[in-house]
């Protein structure tokens, strides 16, 4: 029981962390609240489903192609619909909502609303302290940690990462220092969508693929980001595991818990915000005037 809770919270937590880091990045750099973020996650899951079940391709190959394709779609939709209206915050907001809706409807048209399953990359399981742990679960967890490590290295060790971090801190000054702000935003969008696609790809075998699968992760991801502090990678990381753990506890321990899991996680977020309005690791920015 306890191990079940821990495993489930680690896996959900890693996926929320991947999603939340991507969401935080694009918010930090371009001040875009990308509601369509988890829609890209759904798109990637469908890509894997189509590749493995319909075309019968190698799952790992499918994952790579899927992630690249979804990243391209993300960049194209950013160029077409979001970039031209960047200055109008409200307009960007509903543009991303409309994008998410459009993607959901396209998937509904192509694949209907059926609940679909994706076969695991590796079959089999192993007993750890008497609990059945599928290899797929271990793989998902490991790969998620690995990708987070890569993203951190990208942000902290490379020149591109420096550009992204400085643009997030102060867009105008970064621009004055000779960084091409719109190109940095574009690259960040690519990284962010790529992360979303990746988390969709690794979670697809463990979950049910359907056109509405983006709603719940979206809510959890936003809760994670707010809990951890907007724009803080460390905050997103810890927030994701805290909420993942809370969710797993509720599902396993409380009757009717599956209905209440969102409520409890979100209540935790609100409680933390009452004590620390800028989130766990957020920095209270000087008010822009």
């Amino acid at each position: 029981m306890i191990l079940d809770i821990i495993i489930s919270s680690l896996i959900n937590g890693s996926v929320y962390a991947l999603l939340a880091i991507g969401f935080s990045l694009i918010f930090g750099v371009a001040r875009i609240v990308n509601i369509a973020h988890t829609a890209f996650y759904m798109l990637a899951a469908y890509g894997i489903f189509y590749g493995t079940s319909k075309l019968g391709l190698n799952p790992v190959f499918c994952m790579l192609v899927g992630v690249i394709l979804v990243t391209l779609i993300g960049l194209i939709s950013y160029r077409l619909f979001i970039d031209p209206i960047r200055e109008h915050e409200g307009a960007v907001l509903i543009a991303t909502i409309a994008l998410a809706m459009a993607m959901q409807e396209i998937m509904l048209l192509l694949f209907s609303g059926d609940f679909l399953g994706v076969p695991s990359l590796i079959e089999g399981y192993r007993m750890i302290f008497g609990v059945k742990v599928a290899y797929q679960q271990l793989l998902t967890f490991g790969v998620a940690l690995l990708v987070m490590g890569v993203v951190l290295a990208l942000l902290l060790k490379t020149r591109l990462g420096l550009a992204i971090r400085s643009t997030a801190q102060d867009r105008e000054v970064a621009n004055l220092m000779g960084m091409n702000e719109s190109r940095v935003a574009m690259i960040t969008m690519g990284v962010s969508v790529g992360l979303a696609a990746f988390s969709g790809a690794v979670i697809a075998p463990l979950t049910i693929v359907n056109p509405f699968m983006w709603m719940h992760p979206l809510i959890m991801m936003m809760a994670v980001v707010v809990l951890g502090g907007l724009g803080s990678i460390k905050g997103s990381f810890f927030g994701a595991y805290i909420l993942g753990f809370a969710e797993a506890l509720v599902v396993f321990l409380i009757p009717m818990g599956a209905y209440l899991k969102g409520s409890v996680a979100l209540s935790i977020m609100i409680l933390v915000l009452l004590i620390r309005p800028e989130g766990l690791f957020g920095i209270a920015f000087e008010e822009e005037r």
Binding site: M215, Y259, P277
Partner: protein, 346 residues
């Protein structure tokens, strides 16, 4: 007789001088007249039904604008007010046998309470934090609704409420008159001193505080007012559809109201109402392609935003009217000089 004639002539002069000179005012007048006189021409139940729902949603969208447009407190969980009022009205109607004219205002009061409950913790938050936090409240409530199905009916909701009134035509007049009345009240609020403070809070809260105004009180007031109007629309919806269900609290509901309001143009009150009257019937008439309609809806919004990021109605208004540079009074775009101060317009 002479007195009456005098007042009639005066009324006519005011009408010609204040209403007919501006196309936007003529359009608003026509909008009122068409809606009120429509049943004389046709009483098609399907058309009336669409218009009733449209006007209920118009109240809802305008109430979002009152809170989020005017005070800038981005509320992503506006469905909370709608759902709380709908559920309260439904429970009061079924268990206490209150008629609609009692249950709808009480539902709206429950929504005001909800506004206070979420307003107090949210006062400390700003901008995106606020938007993402308010998103959480309807979802928390939805979890509770699902967890206690013997009171709330769980996924099925509460059905079998009393009808709004006996006939479709009366329903239509109740919805339309309420919509026009409440919209006028909201517009009046935004034109008053309170509305001015709301504007100022959006533009620069610190400056408002420095001027000795208690912004906390005004933000709470905005939450409560907006909750009240949204609550009335929620109660009307529950009684018209005769069901209050979890669909009223869904995240889609909160997003739709944001889409309507921003599409029509925020900080206007008339913008969201106009947007609902365009988008909602559009969605109904797209039912020839049931599978494509939400997709078309999304694409229409994306394309229109590319050309008018400030919203449809401010864009149209800027095309047909210009503001006098000297006295800030609006004029028809065809005029060469201002109608009041005769300054050159360009």
């Amino acid at each position: 007789m002479g007195i009456l004639g005098f007042y009639l002539r005066k009324l006519y002069t005011v009408f010609r001088g204040e209403v007919l000179v501006l196309p936007s005012r003529v359009v608003v007048l026509l909008f009122f007249l068409v809606l009120l006189l429509l049943p004389v021409v046709t009483q098609d139940p399907y058309l009336l039904r669409i218009l009733i729902l449209t006007s209920i949603f118009a109240i809802f969208a305008a109430s979002w604008d009152l809170l989020s447009g005017f005070t800038g407190q981005m509320n992503f969980g506006h469905a909370l007010f709608f759902g709380v009022a709908a559920y309260t009205a439904a429970l009061l109607n079924l268990n206490a046998h209150l008629p609609p004219w009692g249950s709808i205002p009480l539902g709206a009061l429950a929504a005001v309470l909800a506004g206070l409950v979420i307003g107090i913790p949210c006062l400390r938050l700003k901008g995106t934090y606020l938007a993402l936090t308010t998103l959480a409240f309807p979802i928390i409530l939805m979890g509770i609704v699902f967890a206690i199905p013997n009171i709330t009916g769980g996924e099925l909701g509460i059905s079998g409420l009393d009808r709004l009134s006996g006939s479709r035509l009366t329903d239509y007049y109740i919805a339309i008159v309420l919509m026009l009345g409440l919209a006028t009240i909201m517009w009046k609020i935004t034109q008053s001193n309170t509305g001015l403070i709301f504007h100022a809070i959006r533009e620069d809260e610190l400056a408002v505080r420095t001027a000795g105004i208690n912004t906390t009180r005004y933000k709470l007031l905005a939450f409560c007012l907006s909750g009240f109007f949204a609550g009335i629309s929620g109660g009307l919806y529950a009684h018209f559809m005769r069901i209050a269900g979890p669909a009223n609290l869904e995240i889609t509901m909160s997003f739709t109201v944001v889409i309507w309001a921003i599409f029509g143009g925020v900080v206007t009150i008339y913008g969201p109402i106009g947007a609902v009257f365009i988008l909602n019937p559009l969605l109904e008439f797209l039912h020839f392609w049931p599978k494509l309609r939400m997709l078309m809806f999304a694409l229409v919004i994306l394309l229109i935003l590319l050309y008018m990021p400030n919203g449809l109605f401010p864009w149209v208004r800027d095309k047909i009217e210009t503001e006098c540079p000297r006295c800030k009074i609006r004029n028809v775009a065809t005029r060469k000089t201002c109608r009041v101060c005769t300054a050159q317009l360009d």
